[in-house]
Symmetry: C2
Subunit: 447 residues, 2 copies
């Protein structure tokens, strides 16, 4: 495959991306979801995919299939995007793909329309090289609810299992690091978002009564400090019992991830790291954690107000690892609070939980992705046993039993979910090349 071989497909892929970005398919606001599903369907059908639509809670799920051959690849993407606000911080219109200095800006340019368009371009290129025939079976699930927590996905995957079985699943995202190395992620943490609420009285009191009435914010602080230790390790009794021991391949992969987070710390101006050096990637990918997202209660204005607030709340997310089950962690948390006399603290589940998932680094599909990445990018890929982030991988990886690998075209300055979301033009081209290499390799594995 020569670069000129791919140029036409890359340009056509960028043209598809340009069209898709014009559609503000914001799932959180229910905007243009059926229209965007229809546009995606049209693109797929033009390449010979048979597509059927399954109703989702918020937006249609598309399940497509094309090709014939010794292997089956499942691809997972989503056509919905995050809201574009704050609009004032965009340097060009969010729903108009705009190129500046080698970058392409627009909502969804990276997450996830850019990923989808680069993969469709790869399918076209492979077909072109095989006389219009796709030499493997490609199954594609494209949902429109990923940015609102994929509420229908678990159900749809179970119901449509017969159309989704595959030798491997190419996950919806991925990145190329600042040194140009592709980063493959083999897992995602689970996530459980909770709110703890405490109330000590029907109405606020004068703070002098703090001598004789307990304080809801203090009680919440007791609860929060009991969840983890100073080093960040979870301390809820029993919570680590279900953590799967890392395999040798996983540990070897983690040991080879370059860097120790210094770039991240520089980017965000971090002054209180919990880990640097050797433990950094281990914690980020393989350790369950709890994070405090927000805290509110009482007087938050200027100066002081001597009030004893009647109530307060804390928002938390737990990031879990295989084989922790959010529902079980929730039971352990309840028992832990009760055991400390904090049985009055209410636990509210804020959204559907996501279970953790991870594919072993030794799996043949992982090895195929690594080889394809090495070939397409011309450099050794970085393999993360798990990203620190979360997503709906569990239904595919655990329920269907399909190994999952995230590989894609994101970049460290890609501002995903934020104003000025972007990809590099060069990364889009490399994404197409990776797709071609992966499909060819699966269609005809080297002897």
């Amino acid at each position: 495959m020569t670069p000129t071989d791919l140029t036409v497909h890359i340009e056509r892929g960028l043209s598809d991306l340009r069209d898709l970005v014009t559609l503000p398919s914001v799932s959180a606001q229910g905007r243009m979801l059926p229209e965007t599903a229809a546009a995606v369907r049209t693109l797929l059908e033009a390449e010979g995919f048979t597509v059927h639509e399954v109703p989702g809670d918020v937006a249609p799920v598309l399940i497509a299939e094309a090709g014939e051959g010794p292997a089956t690849l499942l691809i997972y993407n989503h056509y919905d995007v995050q809201p574009e606000d704050p609009l004032a911080l965009w340097d060009s219109p969010p729903f108009e793909l705009t190129e500046r200095d080698g970058r392409l800006y627009g909502r969804g340019a990276s997450d996830d329309k850019g990923e989808f368009a680069s993969r469709l371009a790869a399918v076209r290129a492979v077909k072109a090289r095989h006389g219009g025939r796709l030499p493997l079976r490609v199954r594609w699930l494209i949902e429109g609810e990923e940015e609102v927590g994929s509420p229908s996905l678990d159900r749809v995957v179970r119901e449509q299992a017969e159309h989704l079985h595959a030798d491997g699943c190419w996950w919806e995202f991925g990145a190329i690091d600042p040194e140009g190395r592709p980063v493959l992620s083999l897992g995602l943490k689970g996530v459980m978002c909770l709110e703890l609420r405490c109330r000590v009285a029907a109405s606020d009191l004068h703070s002098s009564l703090g001598a004789v009435v307990d304080n809801p914010l203090y009680r919440l602080a007791r609860a929060v400090t009991s969840l983890r230790d100073e080093a960040g390790r979870l301390t809820i009794p029993g919570v680590l019992d279900d953590v799967r021991a890392s395999s040798g391949a996983d540990r070897a992969a983690v040991a080879q991830i370059p860097g120790d987070g210094q770039a991240m710390r520089d980017t965000y101006g971090v002054t209180r790291p919990l880990a640097a050096g050797a433990g950094y990637h281990d914690r980020l990918g393989l350790m369950p954690v709890v994070n405090v997202n927000g805290w509110g209660g009482g007087y938050q204005g200027e100066g002081s107000k001597t009030v004893l607030p009647a109530e307060g709340f804390v928002k938390l997310d737990f990031r879990l690892v295989p084989d922790q089950d959010p529902a079980h962690v929730l039971e352990l948390l309840r028992a832990h609070l009760d055991a400390q006399g904090l049985d009055d603290i209410e636990i509210v589940e804020l959204e559907a939980h996501q279970r953790p998932a991870r594919t072993d680094a030794a799996h043949p599909f992982v090895q195929a992705c690594v080889a394809a990445a090495r070939e397409a990018h011309g450099t050794e890929p970085v393999v993360q046993p798990s990203s620190g982030a979360s997503g709906p991988m569990y239904p595919f990886q655990a329920a269907l039993g399909v190994p999952c690998v995230a590989a894609g075209i994101g970049n460290a300055g890609g501002r995903v979910h934020a104003p000025n979301e972007n990809i590099l033009r060069g990364h889009f081209a490399r994404g197409v090349a990776f797709g071609v290499a992966l499909l060819e390799r699966l269609a005809a594995p080297p002897a």
Copy 2:
């Protein structure tokens, strides 16, 4: 003294109160302060007081003197009031004294114009009974900055000490409990309002990074839980070293305070009391405490947001008892946070501290007040060695060495600082009677 003897003075006092309530002397907003000072001055001069004005940071301080005799009584009041908002919750105009069902409503009706007017009425009554002569020396300090923390008072009391020495000080507030018993308070807790601030990064991060970056709200929770134990006792090392042992008279007084706070718990719908039964009044008056006034940071909206906030804050007030010094407690707090590795938590002082003050229950001036209350109210008064609240008593009690007793006309439903502030008409009359009894007793102590 017969009731008819006082009726004319009570009515005149209510007329004064009506006039004073029309003046919206809101110190927090700098409204009508010199005008209200002038009105108070005119009332005092009409009774033969010589008055001089000392400039305060926000409003003039009036220092007045009248009478001649074997005793000197210092009275402390203030002519400023709290803001009237939220206006919509008032059932009658806040600056128009309005009578309904035996209660007189208006901003300042209780705190503190009602107290001042009832005391001035008592002075008039005593003069009338002594042929126009006041048979003791009455010194009166009336400030206009009490509702903004009395920023000038410490300085003014020190500078004007020669005009303020007295055998006792009648403090600006006091209450009559729901059973009709006058409540005398002999002390006030100190107060120190602080904000703790923590920042871990220059900008917010995705919460998946909570595995490798510490959380400012967790760090604040560690700080807060280290300040007190589950029972509400302060746990900062050394913080209790300066707590003065209660005298026998104080302990005896506490033991005789009726009730165990059930009325308070019912009023506020308290579900998490720290004390009930025998320990209630001991804690409320004699135990130092810390209270969390407010907590803010990160995402506080609906649902969840998986953010790791860059920063957060907690607002606290410490209520201190003799002989704790706020400045020293602040030093101990800093050292305590540092010792726990929380040296990055910034401590911000939100306003001027007030030091605790308490007069021993055995003091002769206290006994004079008790006897006068018994006589005027026809029932045994309740003596609190200290209120749970705070105020600028230290400059008088400790710096000047003048014993202080709070006795007044507030009521449990008086809504001080809130809409529909009120007094009972009957309590105003009893306040005048108490003043007459106290002045007569000081002028001519029983053999």
